[in-house]
Symmetry: D4
Subunit: 248 residues, 8 copies
């Protein structure tokens, strides 16, 4: 492998030849997945790299491949080493350590006349997930509004922003512990509430099981739920809603 890289550095191999050579070493050494470059056409959203559990090289090659095809690429749950590997290939890559989101290239175009995605979170510890949702939604071409620290323990904070939320095309509600924010929101507004339970909490929170069950059983209609800590999933779902919506 060093050999291939040396030859590529010395110009004996083109980038394409080098990559092929690397891949032909077998998946056990390099493990470049098959990129699903057709996903943008099928679903309106390009493939996004889930970085957790991948090596920096795997992340970098995947980001590069998507960037080459779409002119932009997004990675979630990235760490600093993965960022370094990507930045070496794609210098315009940016990394947000709070949300662990990695972005190369611009966000998708924001379409005029579409309502915003509102991201509302309960406590400071929910911020990484909320920011993942916000940054992914922005990447997917949504206008994003943020409302942090609005948990129901201080109900006035939620009631204060109620009118603002009502203008959104979709609300992403991020909360751990009791997950009660989703139910309260569902009963206060007509906007679809995409609930994201977080693993914030301890003990009988069981790593997010408590807010997950609470949100699935929201006593107010108008709430649907994504996986625990899945800010990206909420963003992708909300972007699908907003893409079909018009500002009222």
């Amino acid at each position: 492998m060093d050999d291939i890289l040396d030859r590529f550095a010395q110009g004996e191999l083109t980038r394409e030849q080098a990559r092929k050579a690397l891949v032909s070493l077998g998946c056990a050494q390099v493990a470049v997945g098959r990129l699903d470059t057709g996903r943008l056409e099928r679903t309106g959203q390009p493939e996004v790299v889930f970085c957790q559990g991948k090596t920096p090289d795997q992340v970098a090659i995947a980001m590069q491949g998507l960037y080459a095809h779409h002119g932009r690429a997004l990675g979630t749950r990235a760490d600093a080493d993965q960022f370094a590997a990507v930045e070496a290939l794609l210098p315009d890559c940016e990394y947000d350590p709070v949300s662990s989101v990695l972005r190369a290239g611009n966000t998708m175009e924001t379409i005029d006349g579409k309502p915003a995605v509102a991201v509302i979170s309960a406590g400071t510890a929910d911020l990484p997930v909320a920011e993942e949702a916000a940054r992914c939604a922005a990447f997917l071409g949504c206008r994003v509004e943020r409302y942090h620290d609005c948990g129901v323990a201080g109900l006035h904070r939620l009631l204060d922003v109620r009118a603002d939320l009502e203008q959104a095309g979709a609300v992403i509600a991020v909360a751990g512990m009791d997950g009660a924010m989703a139910s309260v929101l569902g009963g206060l507004s007509a906007v679809p509430v995409v609930a994201v339970p977080t693993s914030v909490g301890y003990g009988a929170a069981f790593d997010g099981l408590a807010p997950l069950l609470s949100m699935l059983n929201a006593c107010a209609p108008g709430v649907a739920v994504v996986n625990i800590d899945n800010g990206f999933g909420a963003a992708a779902f909300a972007a699908r809603i907003v893409r079909g919506a018009s500002r009222e």
Copy 2:
């Protein structure tokens, strides 16, 4: 209580007086909840009666109260006895035994220019939940399209309807067992997929836990989940999406 009803029947008590008298017997005997008649204004959707676990009288009084206010009323998870009690008060009430949905009065107006809600289900045993979703969505003013028996065991059935689904404003995907339909749909289209796990199955399906977890972990973006067997919740959520959407 018979006394109050007799006096009401003989005109000695107005309906209002009769109801108050009934209520004043104490909640332990009659248990009429406080109707949330302001919900329509707040959320765009009237309160719906969850009939399971209520007595026929409780259901009937709640349906009557909502009907009086909104000119229509919907009940879910109703049985034949509850239907009989409601029909006695509201003769234009209809009952669908497959979905256990009870409806008095017309559905809400369908707004022009809004895309349809597509309800797609995996197997025959998922039909009651799918029909609950379909009928509730219709009540809430959505155009509804039904695609039954499209489970991934015979993948062609799903691929056959793919183009139709793409025109919808939201897809409600109803499946038990492995819940795999939601993931496949999420990867094939750009429409938001509202997934409803059902309690269909046995053994390690654990009354719907298997498809619930599977859908929450859908490997394709664009999927959000409601409670097990919660056809109504999926409909209310989809109606919120469609209300803000325009047909493209």
Copy 3:
């Protein structure tokens, strides 16, 4: 056994002799437990009969024994057959079919200057548990106030009664599904909130697991939790609080 009963009926055996004779037949036939008549002195509250899973005879003998000792007796989760068996021995027994509570004799004395116990419930289906709490608290000498149908799906209903709750010595909050009412109450008032999750709901409510976990993870302080559907436990706990409290 018939022999003993006949001889008792004919006066050959005193009631005491008859009971001893019955008991000496062996526990497999009669199974009268050892009554814990010292509990009143130790804990300020007499033993209460948990009727579920006992035969009508077992319930009747236990109620009679406690009544003989304390001049009053309470049974929870009783059914009509058990009531009939008790009523045959204790004619002043009353039965409430909503809460399944059985009471013989008067409630304990209400002590002057103690604040009330407020029982607040989320929906109509929570009523049986709420009434169990209310009736047990009353039996234990508390003044009781009831606030039904105050779930957070219509938040105004909860905010409406906020000032009233603040006067109570303890609030018993009864809710199923998302259990969000406990969190909201905890953040709005200074009164201890005793939360009772109920088995109301379906699917991922998992027979009360969802509100149980939600309430244990209440994001607002001031909430403690009893077992699912345990109205009696909440009442006994609240009565301990109020017994030590003075109205402010």
Copy 4:
């Protein structure tokens, strides 16, 4: 942001100015939550900072904000780094490494005539949670008594302190493994028992699930439960009880 840091490094900005400038960049970069300073008035207890999962800076800014408003501030689940960050801003801050509690300023006033909060724990490993409860109750203005190492494996230790506990306004019972201490206490005294299951144990203790379930099913009345390891929650609840109680 680099700009701010450069100017701070060159002395153009004081640390305080730099931090403020960073905060004004918005929550996504620095994440200062909205403090709920009205909580003291609403609930009789000020907001307390849950430090786990927050950065030292986030903790320090939150503690400072609360201290500025209330003249005191409490943090739970803090580590040494967080303490260092707080101490830099609030020199009178104290840190207890056993309970991980951080306190700046004095405890609230102890009101005359109120009974004490008794904290009783089962084993040495339960000490951190018991101390969290004790220190938080003291901060909230309670007199606190401690009884450590009283698990039921040596029942005499519990019986020895029984008379002392009876004088308390509330007992906080801290135990892991079988959680049996709560049941035994509930049957021995008339004081409300606030049970705290701990994650002490291994295997089928399932990180506190075993004592949690055991305490929720206490066969003696008079027991209510808070989250696993939640010493603070027990203290806040007990303080609400004692605040309304008078010494008898």
Copy 5:
């Protein structure tokens, strides 16, 4: 099948021929299992029929087969129909409806000099399981002593019998809900405590999971646990202990 039975009744077929003919009808119709008649020799205890889920015929044939071999037979979790079918073949069969135990023939010989098995239970509802344990232990040749209604909610009841328990060779402790009795017993005596969690309780008892976990985590040594409601298993285990023990 009637044909075979008629021919057997008329002596045309021996019992052996009849049984073989019945079996050869195929397992779907008769389903006589292979009796493990060597178990007595291997383990000191004969096979016992677990009746639940078997047809009356299956139970009767199995009991008859064991009776023919050993001169006695025991069945657990039997109902009245199964009893009737057995009684038709084995007229000296007895049935105890409290424990659902079926016994044909005498109990095994009690060996001199062996200590007793003490069965202690917490509440009236635990009686069926306790009696199953008691009757099975008696069948296996143990002297049995019973102590009912000794739950820790009234601790004196347990302390009262402590000296008696100390004389036993093994204590079978039967309790539901919090299962705390096992821990308390383990710390009070030197006798092995075989704990049987029961499904008595509701809500977060989760059908016996709460006492099962509590007993597995008993903070006092000397406790081992069998399956929920498994009175028979506790008896078989205790009988193995006592068989090797001598009265001290």
Copy 6:
């Protein structure tokens, strides 16, 4: 619907016209699924009707449709009413009440030179699942051998049949409770062991969870697992194995 049936009975409608008319009444009334008649070609096995949860009419129409296409049809988890409805349409239908299997037409051809499928079960209560496996495997063209009542509590029973099992192409091992049979078999032979956990047992068997987990963790290699009580699934899987195998 009666109208359509009458007209069909009087010959005014062909069977095909009648069915179409019935279907056009809408799925809520009749609910005939889309039959996957191509499954035989794709997978070598025709679709099989899972009868549980379907109405007798739904079962009958599905069986008839498959029979019309393939000349045979199989239904699992059928009850007597469903059998009656099928028999009315397909007189050569047979029903086995032990396994609840319904079969119309002959089994598929047994291919020469293929090894048998051996079905081995642990106890009498496992028989229904074992028979479902055996009958489904026979329907799918396998030679089937049955070994009942071979649980490891009497290990000799398993060792006795070891040599026979070794000749099979696949072993289906059916056991509840501890599920230990699968592990023992995996270590004794070279044949693939398809393990079927059953819901036989009680308490901590948790409806089959115990043997499911045990079998998934079999310490001997060569074991794979299907769903709890899924005799059909094991048969379909074993038939795929045997179809590709040659007798050795």
Copy 7:
């Protein structure tokens, strides 16, 4: 604290004064539990120190206290730092890194005429738990025999030692994964089998849940279960059995 220790070393403080002074430093600093020195008299076995989660100082002081009283002390789940702290106070302390058992002083006397405790384990990874059981049993005065690597994947290994096991007074069976060894042993011998599930395995072993459930559902009688990885508990229980037993 050093000051107190120095003064004690120089004789200015008695041991008692020193300990009191140490304790008066406050539980947060030293946290010496109340030793249960009466346990030996009550239960025949001295208290044993569970080291996990305690500081080296806490372990050392507890070991020293027990050693002072009994002339011996045992600690389980100790690490090297705790050993070092104990060794500094008690130079004759020994540490076994495989089982993490710490022992100071001799084992208890082995009583003549008592049968041995046999410890049998399934695989190499179960060795730490098996050794904890063996060493604890030896400390409690039992003769101990070890049989390692006897899992049912190679059944002959278990059958080979069967005759030896039959001579024991109790068998401690240590196994993870499927836990099948307990069931097989229960059916082969008349000796009580104390089963210890271990956390050996991965995935659906769920940290020992799989063998725990499997062992609780052992299809052979004569098996009781202790907590996952609880070698000490099994030893304490087996020692109670053997203490009452005579060699046959």
Copy 8:
């Protein structure tokens, strides 16, 4: 033991002699398991070393023992330290860091005329498990084909390789998250699908529980499941299938 080490340090003992001497001190110090060298004859597959949780020495000795007997040895879940220890004894040992598989000696002979084992995986993160399956199958004498990155989010990737899979003797399907790949494969082909759920994912994937349940509930027949992340188990099972199969 110190003695042995000293003599080894001084050259009086070779490393080999030292290790043997250490082993002879007994299992508590070194813990060499009993190798099951008869397994190859019984099951057609030699014992394989599960390295996780073993010391490098334990792994090395076990690998050496098996190598000495069979001329080859395989280890799974090995790390670099274990590899180093093995390599010191067996220089022809190879280690694959992706799958953590260790192999000494050649793979078993591939038998002519047997179909291949196809390993198909969903995403890059599933690669380690897929490679474990592939390398173990190869070791056991199977021809292996690999198809990576074929998850259903991009369904075309799966459909593209469908024809290739149909030629295999068994398909090993490796997927985490929703596990939907197994169901889709089961409905598309006639080859037995051995499904391996992986722990890839987060939140409600619950470390592989979600795909495990999903695969156990596959709506398409022809799927059986092994433990989470158990690539080796799938390979051993598939090798048993292929060993009995002939290429068609």
